[in-house]
């Protein structure tokens, strides 16, 4: 088990290095740190002096090494627009996005698992048939359209739920949370559902097909032959085996959800990292862009690694051989 964890972590580090290299190259070639610091109104001569001072005329690798050193210390450059450390800006926006993803993940789990299991056990039920045919439609609707339609129905026409922003947030030790206020929670519903809706058809299909495969196995038949109660067979014997592939997919999908936060946050004017990213693009704020790349890249790598390791715990056969 230990060897397995070590190997996974080494792989993660390797990927992070690649990401940092890409990020740094972008920053170096495209960004303009001088402008970031002092704005536009500098003469070319002053620029050159500043460039030398900042070490911008040093060889590539030297600058890269400096970049890494700074990065590890938490300094990813200055955001031109916000006039603050890029990392600080990202961190201040992070809670909004993280809460959104968290709520979406919860909605995803609590809706798709029961439906997936149900449609696997009772495939000919009218509800199962309805859900399955609906899923192709679901996959074909882009998330921003779902978000817009949800807003249209629930906010504009019915006026039940708010259509933009986070609502009231409470600052818990530096974390602006919308989870602890009723207003904040109301604001989380529509965006959360929009985000979850991307993955739902996929998940329901996945859980259903995995469960159906498991239900045909010999060991499930043996469980029936032992006279166990069917709920135990479905929810323990079958379900635990379904979890394994689902967990791996889930881990990857969390990453995809992050990508889609950019879209969702745009629709709901949600002041999170995705929204910040788009603003940075509009303002050509390269430092912030690169910082976003590095941070989000790190999050992906982290989540993937954790999921792989978790998988090792849930699936006992992986531990012994250390291989999948």
């Amino acid at each position: 088990m230990f060897a397995f964890i070590v190997r996974r972590i080494t792989q993660a580090v390797f990927v992070m290095i690649v990401i940092s290299l890409v990020g740094f190259s972008i920053k170096n070639k495209i960004g303009d740190p001088v402008r970031d610091m002092v704005g536009e109104r500098v003469t070319p001569a002053e620029r050159e002096v500043l460039r030398d001072d900042l070490g911008l005329n040093d060889p590539f690798l030297v600058q890269y090494a400096r970049f890494l050193k700074n990065a590890v210390r938490g300094d990813l450059g200055l955001s031109f627009f916000h006039k603050k450390s890029a990392l600080k800006v990202i961190i201040s926006k992070a809670p909004a996005t993280l809460e959104l993803v968290f709520v979406a993940a919860l909605i995803l789990i609590f809706v798709s698992f029961p439906i997936g299991v149900f449609t696997a056990i009772y495939p000919n039920n009218w509800f199962s048939r309805f859900t399955m045919s609906f899923s192709t439609l679901g996959v074909s609707i882009p998330v921003f359209l779902t978000a817009i339609m949800l807003i249209f129905v629930f906010a504009v026409e019915l006026n039940w739920l708010p259509s933009y922003g986070r609502g009231e947030t409470v600052n818990l030790w530096g974390w602006d949370s919308g989870l602890v206020t009723a207003d904040g929670l109301k604001h989380l519903i529509l965006p959360g559902f929009s985000l979850a809706s991307i993955m739902m058809p996929l998940f329901i299909r996945l859980i259903r097909s995995e469960m159906m495969e498991v239900l045909e196995t010999e060991y499930i038949k043996f469980a029936w032959a032992k006279g166990l109660h069917r709920r135990r067979i479905w929810l323990l014997h079958a379900f635990k085996n379904t979890l394994l592939p689902v967990i791996t997919v889930f881990g990857v999908q969390i990453g995809i959800m992050f990508a889609f936060t950019i879209l969702t946050e745009t629709v709901f004017q949600w002041q999170g990292m995705g929204f910040m990213f788009l603003e940075a693009v509009e303002r050509s704020d390269t430092s912030l862009l690169v910082a976003y790349l590095v941070v989000v890249g790190a999050i992906f790598v982290f989540v993937n690694t954790v999921v792989d390791i978790l998988y090792g715990f849930v699936n006992p056969t992986v531990r012994i051989t250390g291989r999948k």
Binding site: V15, V18, I26, I30, T136, L137, V139, S140, I141, P142, V143, F144, L145, I148, M149, I151, F152, V156, S163, L202, R205, L206, S209, V249, G255, I256, F258, A259, F260, I262, L263, T266, V267, F277, L278, A280, V281, E282, S284, T286, L289, L293, V296, G297, F300, V301, N304
Partner: protein, 306 residues
């Protein structure tokens, strides 16, 4: 050529197609949409790109069947005064062109890489697949958004808008080639050990000829299976990028850009600017997906799970 047609007519593919009403319907709708898209200049009521024909005073007119509707504008007008139906048709055309173009690029890169990696193996395989894996560990949309963002900064917004169509093709093509590479590689590895490959090697054919003329055609089933999904994905990616403002500009809008421009006006009641393009987009993507599902079931039910 005629023989191939005869073979096709008798094939299992055609047989099961004729028996599946969903497949037939989807196919017809798809062909219809493609025709509409390509024939845009011919059948569209107005030319939305002709600046002279647009009057900003005409903006936000509702569809013809509602109270304030106007005769010439069947589905109403958008925020700039363009006839919505015409703009939608042109937008559909853009979506088709970019979608198909991007997939062809993806396929080109992906199939070449997959073929090389699968057949040659060894270091090349390891290198290419590492590259693919790293890129795959990031959601393709993120990659596409990021590349677009960089391009927009590099080219500047004006030039980016001019080059939008080819740039989008490149962006989406680059974002998703690993899917093709992985699939082709797996198929090639499966074919590599079959006897006809050994026979070709024994005869003394060069590696290139074996790869391209013998192995490649046999991997095409898997390519076909994923291609429909990839086209659907590409169209949705373009819509997403345009919606974010990183895609087609407002002057030459695709369906995604239209949805974007209409979004703010939903609150003031001009719902048609967003809804109609939205419906068209969904129908287009859905028929592609339905056909893809059917194709997958027919060619190999277990090939592509997700």
């Amino acid at each position: 050529m005629k023989r191939k047609w005869e073979q096709f007519k008798k094939s299992y593919l055609l047989y099961s197609f004729k028996r599946d009403p969903v497949a037939i319907l989807s196919f017809c709708v798809l062909v219809l949409l493609l025709l509409i898209g390509f024939a845009a200049p011919l059948i569209s009521p107005t030319n939305p790109y002709d600046a002279d024909s647009i009057d900003i005073m005409n903006s936000e007119i509702p569809p013809v069947w509602s109270e304030e509707g106007v005769e010439g504008f069947i589905l109403g007008t958008d925020v700039q005064g363009r006839d919505l139906l015409s703009t939608m048709i042109y937008g559909l055309r853009l979506s088709i062109v970019i979608g198909l173009g991007a997939v062809m690029l993806q396929a080109l890169i992906g199939i070449s890489f997959g073929l090389l990696a699968g057949y040659l193996g060894g270091k090349i395989d390891a290198l290419l697949m590492r590259l693919a894996d790293i890129q795959l560990s990031f959601p393709y949309l993120m990659v596409a958004i990021f590349i677009s963002a960089i391009f927009q900064i590099v080219f500047g917004i004006g030039r980016y808008a001019d080059l939008a169509v080819p740039l989008l093709v490149v962006i989406i093509g680059l974002a998703e080639w690993p899917v093709y590479a992985r699939t082709v590689r797996a198929a090639v590895i499966g074919e590599k050990n079959k006897e006809y490959v050994e026979a070709a090697r024994v005869i003394g054919l060069s590696k290139r000829i074996i790869m391209v003329r013998h192995v490649l055609p046999n991997t095409l089933t898997s390519v076909m299976v994923i291609s429909t999904i990839q086209v659907a994905n590409a169209v949705m990616s373009e819509a997403a990028l345009s919606f974010l403002g990183l895609g087609m500009p407002v002057t030459r809008p695709s369906l995604g850009s239209l949805i974007r421009s209409g979004f703010e006006y939903i609150f003031s009641g001009s719902w048609w600017i967003t809804i109609f393009p939205g419906i068209l987009l969904v129908i287009f993507v859905m028929v592609i997906n339905l056909l893809g599902d059917w194709l997958r079931d027919v060619l190999n039910p277990k090939l592509y799970k997700g």
